[in-house]
Amino acid sequence: MIAVYLRQLADALAFDPALAERVLPEIRDHLEEALAAEPTEDRDEAERRIIAKFGDPRELAAQFAPISLMRHTRRAGVAVVLTIVIVMALMKARMLWYAFVQWTLNEEARPIAQLFVTIDRYAFWLAAAIGTASLLYIAWYPTPVRAHAHYQKHLRRAAMLFVFTTVLLGVSVASDLILTALQFRSEFGALVPAASMAIEIGCIVAIVFLVANAARRLARSGIALLQL
């Protein structure tokens, strides 16, 4: 009977398999300890009583939903802010490298480079401001007992801000890529800007995945909660 209950709980927690993996051993331990403390020798009756006292698995899963949603949304936010820091450090490192190897732009490439420098600067600083503010916004919001409509709206707003920040960072990194291509020379020193660009692009791909995952979970849990 306990095994059936744990299977039902695992099904109800299907919206977050990692959470289910953490919660189920803890609950199994609880139920087994409660069973060992039961005075009756009728195991079936004892299991029935313990499960009744423990509560409905769907109700329990509904109480875990806001915790799961907050964790994934915060994780996406932390990844976005970390990416902002990494992109800025790499941009500064590339500037220093260009000065060190004395790479300069051709005269005819200067106007187009100026345009992309402006796009890059505005997109990056806007992303930094929105991303940091969004993370602070979500960090101060307490996780409620139930995922009520206001809470879901709050998380959706934060996720939208992270999506917007990711788009701006994408624009900034694309501008970086164009600026790097304009200055690129086929020589050994080119490894530094090429590697730094590869890291920037890798970071963007990672946050696209994390932010999309958080947004998808929000949508999926919203539907699941309506069914609970």
Partner: protein, 113 residues
């Protein structure tokens, strides 16, 4: 005691139960029952989302240990922030309960002369 009334104070109840020392979920429930003289009778499962939520808020920490029975067990403990939050909630609760007691007891505050 009313379930909904209890749920509203569940975080404070769990923090207070863990003030006695680190414990696993089952022991937290036993501690709540013992200290409330069996007045609090929530579905036992409710305690786990509360423990996870308090940990997410940084008010609890947890670690896995192996019990004598050989089962893996998660032990929760109050963090410094948790102890601080409990002290704050205790003070608010005392103020609130004293105000309600005064109200329900029908006492009227004296008007200034």
């Amino acid at each position: 005691m009313e379930g909904e009334m209890l749920k509203g104070h569940l975080d404070m109840i769990v923090l207070a139960a863990l003030a006695a020392g680190p414990a696993h979920g089952y022991a937290v429930i036993e501690e709540i029952r013992r200290r409330s003289d069996h007045a609090f009778n929530l579905p036992e499962g409710t305690i786990y989302p509360a423990l996870h939520r308090l940990q997410q808020a940084g008010l609890l920490s947890s670690r896995w240990v192996t019990a004598e029975s050989g089962r893996r067990r998660r032990i929760y403990a109050l963090t410094t922030n948790g102890a601080r939050a409990l002290a704050k909630r205790r003070a608010v609760w005392r103020q609130f309960s004293s105000a309600i007691a005064g109200l329900l007891g029908g006492k009227r505050s004296r008007k200034p002369a």
